[in-house]
């Protein structure tokens, strides 16, 4: 790495003590003037309309300017990793859906592939295609939900309803495929349990034709809207180097100009067979992240189209024993979830239960960048930045 980058990184990490020092949250002025202007300490959340669940952010404000933040998380902690150690590999599979519950299919894909890798088996080609189709549909659904809530945070009420209307079509496909809408448990270790239903491909194609103009519709409402531009441009700027140092991945990283997508960098499932692009931004601000996600939705449509057209015939379940008992060893496998790199680190002791199951949650790591991104901005920008990070508290807290 060049010297410049190293310096940059050190600079960030050098800030870290100040960010997370508890003492900075107390009013430290030793001698107050008679009429001092108060530094407000505001507790945003855990019950706040714009913290996307139960995130609690302690803001230190000078007027409305943010001097520092501290995130308090864990209100939704369910001990997913501990549960994993106490369930068999098969039993644990539905649990991962509950982490990032708006992108449950991605979670399941990552988990199933990690265990498959650990067992050194591979899903059949048809299963891989089905996985890609559903995962990309879920990526669109996740981005739509993000867009709606993000716009609502910034004050535009209407896009929320548009995105939910269109997300409904995706959920209908999920429901028809596996019977569940949100926590789908769509995949099994070794492949898929369900064959596609009759008319699946046609419905997916119909959806592609349906949603493409809808994405234009969202863009019509927001992309060139003056207020939207003012609220998102140059807000929450984070450089590519900062992103790397902070481990930020996903659209946030790409909006800062780092062209990195695990689907291209280390292809999994059937992604190496499709032609798609990695949209990137330049400024790393909220607006670029918005544009990147909008472009990602369109790229997902491309991938789905290719996958539906080229879906092979064949079995959907690989050669997997009835009792999943991976050999002793450990594996790390990660996929590009809608929020970023979702990794599973599994240590097996040869039994039917994981010895240790670690989830590398993208939201958790991305949320760490909040403090860097909002310093010096206003309260309203904190909301915008929390929205643009696209966190799901189920995944942050696990």
């Amino acid at each position: 790495m060049s010297d410049g980058t190293v310096k940059e990184t050190n600079e960030i990490s050098g800030q870290a003590p100040a960010h997370h020092d508890q003492s900075h949250l107390h009013l430290e002025a030793p001698e107050k003037p008679y009429l001092d202007s108060n530094e407000l300490i505001i507790n945003m959340g855990p019950q706040h309309p714009a913290t996307h669940g139960v995130l609690r952010v302690i803001l230190k404000l000078d007027g409305e300017k943010v001097l520092g933040t501290e995130c308090v998380i864990g209100y939704l902690h369910r001990g997913v990793e501990k549960i994993g150690e106490n369930r068999t590999y098969t039993m644990f599979n539905p649990y991962v859906d509950r982490m990032d519950y708006v992108a449950a299919v991605s979670n399941g894909l990552g988990y199933c592939e990690a265990v498959e890798k650990l067992m050194n088996v591979e899903a059949p080609a048809r299963a891989k295609y089905i996985r890609v189709i559903l995962t990309e549909l879920n990526r669109i659904a996740s981005h739509q939900l993000w867009l709606g809530t993000h716009a609502l945070d910034i004050g535009a009420m209407t896009p929320l309803f548009y995105t939910f209307r269109d997300r409904e079509e995706i959920l209908k496909i999920f429901e028809k495929y596996c019977g569940a809408r949100l926590t789908t448990h769509a995949f099994r270790i070794g492949g898929c349990q369900y064959e596609t239903y009759a008319g699946f491909e046609k419905e997916v194609k119909n959806f592609l034709a349906f949603v493409a103009p809808k994405i234009d519709e969202y863009e019509e409402l927001l992309t060139t809207n003056r207020i939207w531009l003012e609220r998102t441009r140059n807000v929450g700027v984070i450089s590519g180097d900062d992103c790397v140092a902070l481990g930020v991945t996903g659209p946030v990283l790409r909006a800062s100009g780092v062209k990195w997508d695990l689907r291209k960098a280390q292809p999994y499932a059937a992604y190496s067979e499709f032609d798609f692009e990695i949209p990137t931004g330049e400024n790393g601000d909220t607006y670029d992240r918005y544009l990147v996600r909008m472009a990602e939705m369109r790229q997902s449509l491309r991938i789905i189209e290719q996958a539906v057209n080229g879906i092979p015939e064949g079995p959907i379940m690989g050669k997997v024993p009835k009792v999943i008992k991976p050999p002793v060893g450990e594996i790390y496998h990660s996929i590009e979830a809608p929020k970023g790199e979702l990794g599973y680190f599994i240590v097996s002791d040869g039994s039917t239960q994981p010895y240790r199951l670690r989830v590398r949650p993208p939201s958790f790591v991305n949320l760490q960048a909040l403090d860097v991104m909002v310093r010096g901005l206003l309260v309203a920008d904190v909301i915008a930045v929390i929205g643009t990070l696209d966190i799901v508290l189920g995944e942050v807290d696990r």
């Binding site: 790495m1 980058t5 190293v6 990184t9 050190n10 960030i12 990490s13 050098g14 800030q15 870290a16 003590p17 960010h19 997370h20 020092d21 508890q22 998380i73 864990g74 902690h77 001990g79 990793e81 501990k82 150690e85 106490n86 890798k117 650990l118 050194n120 790397v244 140092a245 902070l246 481990g247 930020v248 780092v258 990195w260 960098a265 280390q266 991976p326 050999p327 002793v328 060893g329 450990e330 594996i331 790390y332 990660s334 790199e341 990794g343 680190f345 240590v347 002791d349 040869g350 039994s351 010895y355 240790r356 670690r358 590398r360 958790f364 790591v365 949320l367 760490q368 807290d397 696990r398």
Partner: protein, 211 residues
Amino acid sequence: MAEEVKSPAPPPPEGETKSTAEKPAAAAPPAAPAKPAAPAKPAGPVPLPWTSPLVEKYRNQYGSAIEALTYLGQNYLNVDRSLIPDLLRLLRDQEQFDYCVDITAVHYPKREKQFDVVWILYSFPRNERMRVKTQIADGASITSSVDIWATANWLEREAYDMFGIQFDGHPDLKRILLPDGWKGHPLRKDYGILQQDKEWVQINLGIESGQ
């Protein structure tokens, strides 16, 4: 038995032959009662030595304190605890492992050095992953890598929260997911869920048991 290889007792600074000789003696006895069926298992893939210019370079520098292995195509280094901050820094600065994906730990209660601490690293320029592992005893501390990767901050806090591993030099090492007053570290193998649950229910709800 693969576990000895995977999580060996820390090799002494000099004499690799000695360390390999010691390994079964050190780790097998505690592991054996836990899984008596293990030796009878069909032979899975086993970790193989990992050879690469990177490994050679650091092996020349640090000798046998580094053990390089590869398993199912994933490479990892088993290193001595004393190397930790320096080696990580070198990996970042010289080998371009600029992205710390994850920091976590694994608990082996029967071992003398109970914890594996694992750094999962990724290099954007090389498009390559590797893991660095080290073993530490319960109560021992390890140097924090927050000033190498800023992302280590929360990840180390989580490892502390869940395992009780002390990271020296961490700016604000406190619980992150669990409440501040929590007792124990839940991802340790000897942590009793039911007992904790009962205790909490008895104190906070005033009833016998929530189960």
